[in-house]
């Protein structure tokens, strides 16, 4: 009997295993993880801390699911991969051999080797263990500093605020999530964070953590010489592939495990998917390392098809992503760079009062729709996926905008305002407003 071993029970590894079974694979499947016994949704860690959910709620499948699908779970830590005799050495001392190996070990938070970063009370947030640590580290504290202005940073800020902890947020860039978001929307989010009593500092580069008693962190110093008191420091300046255990193996790695379009590593019968990989030839317009939930899932789905004999390659459709910044929901479809590109026209609209905004990019010359960021308004994934794939013209996207909204019934509709503003900015582009009021939709 063939034996496929998966290291890591995150979304990539679990999706892979599930799809293997779905596609009729009947041989042995083993998932090894030292994080938790069962698969849970990492993205929900914040809700456990905030008291919206308990750990059990974050498990997408009931515990019987795994044995029912004949997927073996091993709660242990892989110390070493021996590619010669195809075996894994585990923390418990046991060894497991494999016929095929799938490495899906995800990421770990970035640290930068700053002086003092090893003091107690300093941590990142990625794993279940990190959450437990954060629970302990923040017990009874008053002040926290978060370093790094991205998604995990804003999540951590939200978490800490639910416990009435004063939060100072140090962002290296000139605006929030500066390597992803254009300035306009970043400013709206910054305003919203201030409403949630976050002390935001931009262009603030942390350089050192200090401790009064030599054990527990007490303040953070920036390169500018500013000092911020801190009983807790969250370091959320990105994540990198979690592959230290492969260092002594002969599997080729760079920042991540190097893979081809079929997830094959440099060693036969060893594949890698998810956050921990680095694509040798990423798909057109995509980065070599993309650490999001969705790409992990797509890789798992695709590798399962490959290993059950289908001749396919990693081929994610148009880029999409989503997040939530306190109360502002965010979705994105296609590409919106931080800066307006040479060939682009841009259109940004924000409601004067509400936290609702969209940012569109389209080609200056051909009118081809390139991407959209939307905030506080829900838009349909399928709609934009289709428009992006058919290289639709911006006038078509704007004219069909009412089909794209995914907001609940009776919600205020913003299409009229968006379209009329767009017409003002680009009078040469023809847009038909096909918006219907809600009562017509109800009886549609």
């Amino acid at each position: 009997m063939e034996k496929i071993v998966i290291i890591g029970n995150g979304i990539s590894g679990v999706t892979f295993a599930r799809f293997m079974r779905k596609l009729g694979y009947q041989e042995q499947l083993i998932i090894i993880s030292s994080e938790t016994k069962h698969f849970f949704s990492r993205t929900a860690l914040m809700y456990i801390y905030m008291g919206h959910m308990e750990y059990k709620h974050t498990k997408p499948y009931e515990d019987f699911f795994w044995s029912k699908n004949n997927i073996e779970l091993v709660y242990d830590h892989v110390k070493k991969v021996n590619t010669q005799d195809k075996s894994l050495k585990l923390e418990s001392g046991e060894a497991i051999n494999y016929d095929k190996l799938v490495i899906a070990t995800g990421s770990k938070p970035n640290f930068f080797g700053w002086p003092g970063e090893k003091y107690n009370g300093i941590q990142g947030l990625y794993s279940y263990q990190d959450l437990q640590k954060m629970e302990k580290n923040t017990e009874g504290i008053k002040k926290a500093v978060i370093i790094g202005g991205g998604l995990i940073g804003v999540e951590m800020a939200e978490m800490l605020r639910t416990r009435d902890i004063e939060v100072t947020f140090l962002v290296r860039e000139g605006h929030f999530w500066g390597n992803v978001l254009p300035r306009e929307e970043a400013e709206m989010i910054a305003d919203h964070m201030r409403k949630h009593h976050i002390n935001l500092h931009f262009n603030a580069q942390a350089s050192e953590c200090k401790s009064k008693d030599g054990k527990r962190v007490s303040s953070v110093l920036t390169t500018e010489g500013e000092e911020f008191e801190a009983d807790f420091v969250g370091i959320t300046a990105g994540v990198s592939p979690n592959i230290d255990f492969l260092k002594e193996s002969n599997i080729e790695t760079d920042k991540g495990v190097l893979i081809d379009e079929k997830f094959q590593t440099s060693v036969n019968d060893i594949y890698s998917i998810g956050d921990c990989v680095q694509h040798r030839n990423p798909p057109a317009g995509r980065k070599s390392i993309e650490q999001v939930w969705y790409t992990g899932r797509i890789m798992g789905e695709t590798l399962a098809q490959i290993l059950t004999g289908k001749d396919v390659r990693y081929n994610p459709g148009p880029w999409f992503n989503s997040a939530k910044f306190f109360d502002i929901e965010f979705q994105t479809y296609g590409t919106i760079d931080v800066e307006k590109q040479e060939n682009e026209n841009r259109f940004f609209w924000k409601h004067p009062k509400n936290n609702v905004a969209i940012h569109l990019a389209f080609d200056k010359n051909t009118g081809r729709f390139i991407g959209i960021n939307n905030f506080g308004i829900r838009l349909r994934h399928e709609f934009f996926d289709k428009k992006l794939k058919m290289k639709a013209h911006i006038s078509e996207v704007m004219s069909d905008l009412n089909e794209a909204t995914f907001d609940p019934e009776f919600f205020r509709s913003y299409e009229d305002e968006i379209i009329s503003e767009f017409k003002n900015s680009y009078p040469e582009i023809e847009v038909k407003n096909q918006h219907k009021p809600w009562y017509k939709k109800i009886f549609a």
């Binding site: 959910m53 098809q305 997040a323 349909r380």
Partner: protein, 513 residues
């Protein structure tokens, strides 16, 4: 928690303590005059008064008084039964009215004062507490700390509340004489509007409506960013205050059948009982119209409206049980069981109750039209009393509401309500309603499943890109509200493609998941 909230809680709890304390403030003295006034059936009076004479002019505690009265009646009836004098057996309940009439104490002397103290303190306290909740927070999802609180996550306070509610229902249905002080509190109100003392049902209806209104105001605050939730809450508050509470009282004053015109059989399981049918018929055109209206709701209203909007048009917009669940029960919605096992139990139970309701009603109508009580050896009167006890009292009352803090706010609606089962069948097989998922945006976080009061594992569908068309979905819209990635949406659309193909957008090599 700030000072205003603390004062609010103190006020509310004091009102609760006074309310409970009032039950221990009265003494009971029966006299021959009282007995004569209360028992106006002369043959009943003759048979009961010799026994009752023994406690005349004695000042008794409540339990002793009630048990003495009950013992007298039981002894009299036992003798009739022994002599096989079945027509003489006394079925009228005199205990409650004798207890009321024999009562003396603060509630009797200062009824209105105590009523105002209790209603005033509790309303003011609750509103003070609610007014400060989520203060200074921008609009958004407000579920912080829910899992840490004793009150909302099966801690001691939650358990105490559950026990209190269960006891309340037991006394309300089976031992109303023991809570006579609570019932009497409302005498000034009912004397004013209809010139008679309050019944336990008036008291119950009043508190029920008050709970929906006050906790409805809380919903307005909690979900102020969602027009769907605001409108829905307004709707349940409106239907409770008008249709369930005020209109029946007005109908009563007008000497018409005092019914809740939005209550539908088989939830309204007495709809076809002969006393109800006779009442309709005796009330002339308007009575007939009311009966026809009720039947139209059953055979046209339910299927048609459910076809267009899903069962939510009733369950989370109109229904009284739903109204209480969506307001008072909102802090408990996450306690529903999402396991596959619970779903299996739910399907068996809720459809069994529907079958039971249909059989019971069939038997009742058989008796109505033929005048024969016996059907294959079982009396239709017995069947209806089983239903009334098992379903009406235990399931929908004591468990339905008493289990909010244990198993969530929709235990009755999910496992027991026969109307929900009927609406659910229509919704499952023939409706334009569904919850759609937004392409591949689901991150399996589990907020939707956690906050589904009906125990639907919404995430199971969302993470596969599949529409949710479960029969139990009451369309409260909370899954869509709590979703952090904008994945879920309640929609009414053409029936085509409703059962959907399970495809997650975003992978060009996608396979049906």
């Amino acid at each position: 928690m700030n000072t205003i909230q603390k004062i609010g809680i103190i006020a509310f709890c004091s009102s609760l303590f006074i309310f409970i304390g009032l039950l221990f403030t009265s003494s009971f003295t029966l006299t021959s005059e009282i007995t004569g006034e209360v028992i106006n059936d002369s043959s009943h009076f003759e048979s009961l008064s010799p026994g009752l004479e023994e406690i005349y002019d004695k000042q008794l505690e409540k339990p002793e008084f009630i048990s003495s009265v009950n013992a007298v009646k039981e002894a009299v009836n036992q003798q009739y039964r022994n002599n096989e004098e079945w027509d003489k057996v006394i079925h009228t309940d005199y205990t409650l009215s004798l207890t009321r009439a024999a009562l003396s104490g603060p509630v009797k002397s200062n009824t209105l004062l105590w009523l105002l103290v209790i209603l005033g303190l509790s309303t003011l306290g609750a509103l003070m507490y609610i007014s400060q909740k989520w203060k200074d927070q921008p609009a958004g999802i407000k579920n912080d700390h829910l899992m840490f609180r004793s009150m909302t996550n099966r801690g001691i306070i939650g358990i105490a509340l559950g026990v209190f509610l269960i006891l309340f229902y037991i006394f309300l249905y089976k031992l109303p004489a023991y809570i006579i002080e609570w019932i009497m509190l409302f005498d000034p109100v009912t004397m004013l509007i209809k010139g008679e003392p309050a019944s336990q049902w008036f008291m119950y209806g009043f508190f029920y409506t008050m709970a929906i209104v006050i906790m409805g105001i809380r919903m307005f605050k909690k979900y102020r960013h969602s027009n769907y939730q605001l409108l829905r809450t307004t709707s349940v508050m409106f239907f409770q205050v008008s249709f369930a509470f005020m209109i029946p009282e007005i109908l009563y004053i007008l000497n018409l059948p005092s019914v809740d015109l939005k209550n539908i059989w088989p939830l309204d399981y007495t709809f076809f009982f002969e006393y109800r049918l006779n009442e309709y018929i005796e009330s002339g055109t308007i009575g007939i119209w009311m009966m026809v209206w009720g039947i139209i709701l059953i055979i046209i209203g339910v299927p048609l409206l459910t076809y267009f909007y899903g069962k939510r048009w009733y369950c989370s917009w109109v229904c009284g049980c739903g109204g209480l669940a969506e307001t008072l029960g909102d802090p408990y919605r996450h306690l529903s069981d999402k396991s596959l096992k619970a779903w299996k139990v739910e399907r068996v139970l809720v459809h069994s109750v529907l079958v039971f309701a249909v059989v019971m009603t069939g038997a009742v109508l058989y008796t109505y039209f033929t005048g024969k009580a016996n059907i294959i050896g079982i009396s239709s009167y017995e069947i209806r009393s089983w239903y009334g006890f098992g379903i009406g009292f235990i399931f929908s009352g004591a468990i339905g509401t008493g289990f909010y803090p244990f198993m969530g706010n929709r235990v009755w609606c999910r496992f027991g309500c026969p109307l929900a089962a009927y609406l659910g069948l229509v919704q499952r097989f023939k409706s334009r309603f569904r919850i759609t998922t937004n392409g591949g945006q689901c991150i399996s976080c589990g907020n939707c499943s956690t906050y589904c009061e009906m125990g639907i594992d919404v995430r199971w569908y969302a993470q596969r890109g599949q529409n949710i068309i479960r029969s139990s979905c009451v369309g409260c819209g909370v899954c869509s509200s709590v979703c952090p990635r904008g994945v879920l949406n309640l929609e009414v659309k053409d029936g085509k493609g409703r059962f959907g193909n399970k495809v997650l957008t975003g992978n060009e090599n996608t396979v049906s998941s």
